[in-house]
Every structure is written in structure tokens, then in C-alpha cells.
Symmetry: C2
Subunit: 420 residues, 2 copies
């Protein structure tokens, strides 16, 4: 019997280091005689359904090594959540058909909570259908909201970007505030969890105190208390730096920047907390302000990725291969912290059934009493995650990111699958 | 007679490398036996008027060297333009009194066009008043809009940041566009000149073509043509990346994102082109979009400064000292390009009278025929300016930027000066 192949798929919002995980998977699997080839789904699970599979075995070792330094999803990702098996069995059966057609024995799904859930379901159904697939979920999400794992690959790099950007912008505002901008607002990602916003607090020791206010999704927005705090900071320091999570919300659950549109997972699409707060400050406090919205720049900023984060991402890719070789099914490898200072960690694994649909937000003991900052415990947790730089190579002033040329597998199934 | 001192002042919006110029001035002046001390005005010209002067001679060589790697204005900057001598002679006379009181013989004003104009006026009046000051303007502005100089210190680093950010975000969108975001908009600085927006085009060779659309202040915004171009890019590539200058405007001169408020120079304060374009794309094309506004992050991003830019900034500081020693009055040192490939340059100087109030925008021969891109000539001009990395040192995952402790000179004048 020919050796079973691996199908690797990227899912959901991409990060600065998800390709480092791909690099870990592919380089580890190449060295294993028991394994077949590593295929990558084009555009995530959509490509698996459409039988659009990329043969990574033709990519050079240099390209695979270069993936460790390249942001985005090199094979394409997608926002597409499989429905429950009861609601749409057809999709799962199609996946199994594709797996069968290409002798795939291992499915590595690299994503957040929704993806772990999908990997779990695929594992269950494949057994039911008599073509058991070893399904392994590999964690990834800048939101840092998965349970069990100490942190999620992608987060450490966003955290570093946000901490550095906050430090740099704070020095800028401090030098201008006497006659110009008094309030600076930076909007960061984090729909339901304020981990990214929290990371901006790591700038405080270097900046002399900024950011002065952090808005978390976990803390109900109180307009009056917020405006008081802005005034206090401006009086005390001459300026105020605010880092606002996109998910900051009012007591009734309404987001500060509700935009009405929804993404493919049915989540409300956010954006615009910063201009909303700027308008508030303008009308109520009459202070001169500036605002920035980092959006994709933060999660794609491979040029300033955390070395710790890159190492995590790569190691988790390698670990997935190791788990596959041990025939561990329906599990997710994760980062287990041994100590914070010095930072020590190793990899363990947990059953997908325990991971799926559990969201880890910033706990109350990590948020300062006034709701606008972080505690020492949170600082101790976050600090090691931004440690170390992992610079890409440069040519002509720009990073040498790889953009692999795809060699697609020939389709074997008669039917096309149409994504609805 | 005691040796004459230098007064150095930072002006206008700060940059990632204005402190490198300060570092160049101070380190060059320290080695000159003919010169007294270097004083720095606290918060720019406001500090000079208030007699708030910082003694830089007590700062260690390590701190001065560290300034080369530190963004923002270490001594404080300001947005405060002196009026014409006829309108407000009092301010100029006050400056001369402060210069007399502290035996200042040289005034180095580090700023954009307005500052060169002020330095020129101070030079004229000081002669009229019988206390001649050698006034030297040192160029600085991320807008890159000063005449004579090949480029303005601060611009190369913003250009590099914007090119890298555009590259990274473009890879991100490319990997998600099959099922998610189709249009990404990045708003960058550049009120009247589109140099920063133009620099995003340097990403094109690495990104496979993005950005697809650049909006310049120099090109009148045509909604229909713009929407057609967005549609074309999405059809051809699956996605569209847009880099919009904050100064993009309609045929009637109205900014796309007029916000109504004005800064201290009387300029309209901008912000919000990106969300405005996003709304347009949403309502007219019904495409899924994301947008980012880089704002201060771009001009403060010392972590990814251009080495070329840092070298320019430092060398211009040194050159100012050399000009002072040669008693060249009312001049500005500038970068003269000798060749583009390889990039070679040297420093020359020009009379301030020729610099003041001349604005250099992106010329028509640098903008592509359809108005949405740059020409090869522009690419050749821009490419060397982002060359080389100049990384700061890091500790605990964050850059080691210096924040000097200020030793203020004792005030000698009886009268306080109140800024109106």
C-alpha cells in the first residue's frame, strides 16, 4: 500500500507566522520515510472541497525555509465554516472523497477555534464512513483566544508590533503635545478578546507610561469614566495615548464601531472605533487628536515578528508531523509554559473535542482595577511572547518574502464541487 | 570673548530620523574647539521664545549616539509659525534677546518649508538689530516637498515603512480574497505632495503587482474612473490594493476627507480618506473591504527606518556644523544626488531665500498615464531612498530608544514670554 499523504490547510485570518507552521510541517514530513507527500489545499478548506490541491514536494528546500520568514497564507486561506454534519453532510462526504482519491491519511487544519471544530468533525465522520483520517488541528490566531495553549501562534508577533508601534507613536505625541496633538488613538484587532490591546501596555516602561488608556472588549465602555481618564492623562502628562480594541462595547453589547456588515462566519465586521472615539473627544473635550487603525498591517508585519512566536509556530508544525507518526487522532498540539522568567516551554497535545468552541478572553485578574490597564500578572504573561527579533532577509530595501509557484495535483474526481 | 554657542531647534511634525540630525549636530560640534556648547530649544521655537533651553553638553556620548536610533523629537518640537516681521516684530526681538542672553551665535532650525522661512527671517532681523546670528536651516519633512534637496530626511524611512506595509498587507489580502476581503485601502500621509503614496509602488515587484491603485493629491479624484479601476483589478487579480494619500482631492479642491479642523499653521487637518473610499466601494461595488490608517505609526517607525535616510539625516546635522564654522549664513545644507544606481550623493548648500515657501510636489512625469501609478523615472528616483536597514538595539523585545533627561539653562531674562 502506498504511503499515506498529508493534506495541510490554512484557515481563517492569516498571520505573520502561519507560513512558519507550514514550513515546520513540510520540512519535518520530508524527512520521514513512513509518510507520503505533503499536499496543501488551495485557499484552505475551499480548495479541499474543490479538489484544488498543491503538491509541495516539488518546492525547493530554500522555498520551504523561506516560508518561515514570509507573512500571509502562502497557499491561500479562507473564511468558510463547514456547517454541522446534520445540516450539510454532503460537504463532509465530499472531503472524504477527495481524501480517498488522493490517498490522504492525515489532515492538518491550521486555524482558530472554528477550524479545530471542523477538524474534529472530519475525524468523526471519516471513521463513520470507514476511511479513517488522522486529523490534527494546529493552533493559529492573532486573537490568542484558544484554550489550553499558553498562547496562539500569530499573537506574539502582533503583540510585538502593537507594543512597538504604541511606543513609537507615544514618543511622537510626547514631542508634539505642547502645541499640537494631545490625544492619540490606536485601534487594534481583537473582536471578543482584548489580548492584542493588552500587549500595548508592554510599551509603558519604555515610553514613560503610555498607553494611558486601554479599551478591552472584556470591560464595558463607560463614556464618562473614559473622558475623565483622558482629561486626567492630559493634565498629568500633557498628552494621552489610547489603545482601543475593535471589540470595545457598550453595556448593551453594542460595539462602539458597529458597521452592520457580517463576514462569512456570521461575525459582525468591525472597524472604526478610533474615529468614533476621536469624534467623542473632539466634541466633549475639544482636544486636538490623531488616530490610526492598524488593521491588516498588524497581523502581516513579518518584518518585526517576535522570534518566540516564530519558533512556536514552526515547532507546532513539526509537532503535528510527530503526532501523525504516532497515529494520535483528533488532537491539537499546544504550547505549555514551564516558566516565565526565563521563558521555558514545551509542546503537549489535547483532544480536539476539548478545544472546539471554547473562547479564552482576558481574565479579570489580568485587567487593572480601573479597567484601563493590565496587572503585573498579565505583564508577566505577555512579556516573553514578544522576545527576540526574527528579521527576514532584505534586497533593495524590501524583505525577501517567498511567493511559491503552485504545482496543482491532477483532479481525479468526476464531479466538480460548487461552494455555495 | 567666550566662544559662541549653538541653538538647535526641532520644528513641525517629527520623524523617525530627526533625532539622527540632532545626533549629527551635537557630536560634530563637540569636537570643535572654536564652538561653544550646543543648546536645544525645549519644544522647538516655543522654547526659544520662552527661554527654555536644554544644555546638551551634559548628555553622555552614549545618549547622543542613541539619538541616531530614536524616533520622535527628543527635545520636543512644535507647530508654531512666527508671523511676518511686520505683523509681529516682538517675537523676533524676543528671540534675539534670548540669543544675546545666552551668547548664541548660531541658530540651527531643523524643519520643513515654514521653518526655513523662519530661519531666513531671523537671520535678516538679527543683522538689522546689530547682533548677527548665523542661521542655518536643516531640512526635515516626511512630505519630501522641499526644493533643491534630492529628498528630505524622514521621507526615506516613511517610504520604506509604507512600501513594506503595502507588501505585507497585499500578501495578506491575496491569501484571503477567494472568500473574504477583496479590497484593501491604506491611507498614508502627504497633504499636498503624493511622495509617500508613490513610495508604496516600490512593493509592486515583490507583491506581484499591488498596490493596484495609488491616489495622489496631484491627480484630481474621478469617482467613476476610480471605481472602474477597482473593478478591473478585482477581476484580473481577485483583489485590489489601494494606497490613498490623505491629500487626495476632488476637482473643486475639496479634500476627500475634509474634517473641518485646522492645525496651528492654519492647514486643514486631514484623516479619513480610507473609510470614505471604503464606504464608496461598499455602496457602489458591494465588495468586501478592509482599511487601515497608518497616521503617526508611519513617521515614527524607527524600527524599520531606511539606512540611507538615517545617514542623510546624520550627515546634514554634521554639515550644519561645518557651515557654521565657515560662517555661511542663511543657508540650508541639502542632499545632491550624483547617481541613482549605484546611489551616490554628497552635500551642498543653498541660500534660504531660495528655499522658503517653495513646495515640490510629484511632477507629472513621475505619475503614470492613467494617474493611478508611477513611472519608471519615479521608481528610479525612489528606489535608493529605502535602501538598507538601520535596526535599533532591543531589550525585552522592545527597541532601546533613548529619552534624555533635560538639564535646563538658568533663565537670564527678567520677562517671561507668553505664547499667544
Amino acid at each position: 500500500m502506498p504511503k499515506k499523504n498529508i493534506l495541510y490547510a490554512q484557515s481563517g485570518g492569516v498571520t505573520a507566522v502561519i507560513n512558519a507552521t507550514a514550513s515546520g510541517v513540510i520540512s519535518a514530513a520530508r524527512n520521514q520515510s513512513e509518510l507520503g507527500k505533503v499536499y496543501a489545499a488551495r485557499n484552505g478548506i475551499i480548495g479541499a472541497l474543490r479538489e484544488e490541491l498543491i503538491d509541495t514536494s516539488v518546492l525547493s528546500n530554500e522555498v520551504i525555509a523561506g516560508l518561515k520568514y514570509t507573512p500571509s497564507g502562502a497557499f491561500g486561506s479562507c473564511r468558510y465554516k463547514l456547517k454541522g454534519i446534520q445540516e450539510n453532510r454532503e460537504e463532509y462526504e465530499r472531503l472524504i472523497s477527495v481524501f480517498k482519491a488522493h490517498n490522504i491519511g492525515y489532515f492538518f487544519y491550521n486555524g482558530g477555534g472554528d477550524s479545530q471544530d471542523t477538524a474534529h468533525k472530519v475525524s468523526q465522520l471519516s471513521q463513520e464512513m470507514g476511511f479513517p483520517i488522522t486529523c490534527i488541528g494546529i493552533p493559529k490566531t492573532v486573537d490568542n483566544d484558544l484554550p489550553f495553549t499558553d498562547n496562539c501562534p500569530g499573537f506574539g508577533s502582533v503583540a510585538k508590533y502593537v507594543a512597538i508601534s504604541t511606543l513609537e507613536a507615544s514618543l511622537d505625541v510626547a514631542s508634539m503635545c505642547e502645541s499640537s496633538t494631545k490625544v492619540f488613538i490606536l485601534e487594534v484587532m481583537g473582536r471578543h478578546a482584548g489580548w492584542i490591546a493588552a500587549a500595548s501596555a508592554l510599551a509603558q516602561k519604555r515610553s514613560g507610561g503610555a498607553p494611558h488608556i486601554i479599551l478591552f472588549p472584556e470591560v464595558i465602555f463607560d463614556e464618562e469614566k473614559f473622558l475623565d481618564e483622558v482629561n486626567k492623562a492630559v493634565k498629568q502628562h500633557g498628552y494621552c495615548v489610547i489603545v482601543a480594541s475593535e471589540g470595545a462595547k457598550y453595556a448593551d453589547g453594542q460595539f462602539l464601531a458597529q458597521m452592520g456588515s457580517k463576514d462569512a462566519f456570521g461575525h459582525v465586521q468591525l472597524g472604526g472605533v478610533a474615529p468614533m472615539l476621536a469624534n467623542l473627544i473632539k466634541s466633549k473635550l475639544k482636544l486636538k487628536y490623531h488616530w490610526a487603525v492598524a488593521d491588516y498591517l498588524q497581523r502581516a508585519a513579518r518584518h518585526i515578528s517576535s522570534h518566540t512566536d516564530v519558533e512556536h509556530a514552526f515547532a507546532l508544525g513539526e509537532a503535528a508531523v510527530k503526532l501523525a507518526l504516532e497515529n494520535k487522532n483528533a488532537v491539537m498540539p499546544y504550547i505549555k509554559r514551564d516558566s516565565s522568567s526565563p521563558y521555558r516551554w514545551h509542546i503537549e497535545s489535547v483532544e480536539l473535542s476539548k478545544v472546539a468552541n471554547v473562547e479564552r478572553t482576558v481574565p479579570p485578574e489580568y485587567i487593572s482595577e480601573n479597567g484601563f490597564g493590565i496587572t503585573e500578572a498579565c505583564r508577566e504573561y505577555l512579556a516573553p511572547l514578544i522576545e527576540g527579533e526574527s528579521y527576514p532577509s532584505y534586497q533593495n530595501g524590501l524583505p525577501l518574502y517567498v511567493r511559491p509557484t503552485f504545482t496543482m495535483l491532477e483532479k481525479k474526481l468526476e464531479q466538480e464541487f460548487v461552494i455555495r
